[in-house]
Amino acid sequence: MISAQDILLDVQHLSQQYALPKPSLFAKAGHIQALNDVSFQLAAGKSMGIVGESGSGKSTLARLVMALEKPTQGKVLFKGQDLNALPPDSLRVARSDFQMVFQDPYGSLDPRQKVLRIVSEPLHSTLKQSSGQALSAQDLKDCAAQALTEVGLRASDLDKYPHEFSGGQRQRIAIARALITRPSLIVADEPVSALDVSIQAQVLNLMMDLQERFGLSYLFISHDLAVVNLMCDDVIVLQHGRVVETGSADDIFQHPQHPYTQELLSAIPGLSH
């Protein structure tokens, strides 16, 4: 079992309900159960894959882990701290240790901001809280330039706008933004699903390189089982908000136990040959 110090992320009995729009003025609002009693642990330096189709709750799980929403029930413990119990300022400081990469490379970057501002945004919040002096503009620029080179772009790209880049390059910018505070955990919500196959390969390789280099942990959400198998040590399969199967990637993909997992595997095109 993972020892207590090594657990990076501990999700305990997480449930999330959303209220549906009321059908009429005085009727009671229905609700939808997006997540139902989800629990798992992620060790430092390892990667966990979350597999599911639409409606499985995987994006909700991502948002809850990132403390972008409060769960109806359950806890998200990051490095032992209950994220939802933290006062806002402490949470803001804690955020520099876990970051997110989103699915849509076109929507996740503000079209009106230059890459410098986009990539250095996570650093802005640490400016006021850090015990030393605030980071100067030049420091910000240097950090951003370094982050860009780490993802295979150039420092000269800092001055450009998102629309000057291709989808794959934008996703690299998003990864640079996630890396800039040197987090321990990166939550990647379908990070390569919107990319072409050859670009997907480049970005996946990059993510693997970065993991080795910086000792990152990934919470990797995807519907693509082959990608999850490549990137992740352990896997959780979600269906309709519940965990139906969990285990190591090898176990799940070679010896799936639950019928839904088996169905997902058999549905992969091209495999029946």
Binding site: S166, I199, A226, S266, G270, L271
Partner: protein, 348 residues
């Protein structure tokens, strides 16, 4: 009157499409050639910007006004590029049909689904509303939409993605067209739904003896669904072969790169995928010759000057027997637009 046996269902010769953009007149398709026989399934695979959707739109005559088409597209021998818009309208929906990637935007949100299916029936077969509605129900049953009778009056937003795609398929098949073009029909769907919808398409195509042109970026899909595959890059088809043959060996550097870049289930965790160096060039940056030249390990000077000509690859021995002999030799066999294919074969 059935057309002569050797007139192909669809014949595309030297199809070129030029687009008027802010960077001037750019060639988006640079000479696409292929043929499709009745009942044949053909796949078009490529990444974004390669021109596969443009090819489909050109065949259907749905290109925007700022596009200029040259070359030949012949359906049952009739030249489509010369036809007036009115004539094309009589063919679209009736003889050739298309289904699109995003069913939510392809369906009219303000019309109930029976009405949208009835539309081609009324237009091309002159049915009245009542018979059209009845036929719509038959079609929905055929595409296995659960509880079709109750769903007739539903609006698109009341259906799930997979159900909407079934509605779109039934619209496409309403007039029993000769050719069905499916542009990424399942990309927006969950993988379990994808499997059902593709099986449905395969079944219906086989039952009706339609020709199917399936466009996708997913290699596995091609393997399951089509007999022949064409690989597109930079506005041209760079390799064309029977699916089985293509999965045995790839002879164009891009195709090899594409296959190598796909993550497979059996890979060990942490294996680096083989990537193709560089990026897909933007349409205004396409080189004079082969668009893959800047990323190719085998590039020669002649590659940069002009688009490499089609080179026939001798079929592997066990394929020769299974081929039909009346297919035009040149276009049915394995061919590739690369002068160095023999080197690739040796290296493989």
């Amino acid at each position: 009157m059935t057309p002569a046996h050797n007139t192909p269902l669809l014949s595309v010769r030297n199809l070129r499409v030029a687009l008027q953009t802010s960077h001037g007149q750019l060639e988006a398709l640079r000479g696409v050639d292929f043929e499709m026989q009745r009942g044949e399934t053909l796949g078009l695979i490529g990444e974004s910007g390669c021109g596969k959707s443009l090819t489909a739109l050109a065949i259907m005559g749905l290109l925007p006004d700022r596009a200029t088409v040259s070359g030949s597209i012949a359906l049952h021998g009739s030249e489509l590029t010369q036809m007036s818009e009115d004539t094309l309208c009589t063919l679209r929906g009736a003889r050739m049909a298309m289904i699109f990637q995003e069913p939510m935007t392809a369906l009219n949100p303000l019309h109930p689904i029976w009405k949208q299916i009835a539309e081609p029936l009324q237009l091309h077969q002159g049915m009245d509303l009542v018979s059209a509605k009845a036929r719509a129900l038959e079609l929905l049953d055929r595409v296995q939409l659960p509880r079709a009778r109750e769903r007739l009056d539903n609006y698109p937003h009341q259906l799930s993605g997979g159900q909407r795609q079934r509605v779109m398929i039934s619209m496409a098949l309403a007039c029993q067209p000769d050719i069905l073009i499916a542009d990424e029909p399942t990309t927006a769907l969950d993988v379990t739904v994808q499997k059902e919808v593709l099986a449905l398409i395969r079944q219906l195509v086989a039952e009706d003896g339609m020709g199917l042109l399936l466009i996708s970026h997913n290699l596995g899909l091609m393997r399951d669904q089509v007999e022949r595959v064409m690989v597109m890059y930079g506005g041209a088809v760079v390799e064309s072969a029977y699916t089985k043959a293509l999965f045995e060996r790839r002879l164009h550097p891009y195709t090899q790169g594409l296959f190598a870049a796909q993550p497979q289930l059996g890979l060990k965790r942490g294996t680096r995928l083989q990537t193709i160096a560089g990026n897909v060039p933007e349409i205004f940056n396409w080189p004079q010759g082969c668009a893959f030249a800047d990323r190719c390990a085998y590039v020669k000077d002649s590659c940069r000057q002009a688009l490499p000509p089609i080179e026939l690859v001798p079929q592997m021995a066990h394929f020769k027997e299974s081929q039909e002999t009346d297919k035009p030799r040149q276009l049915a066999e394995h061919w590739v637009r690369c002068p160095e294919w023999q080197k690739l074969e040796a290296a493989a």
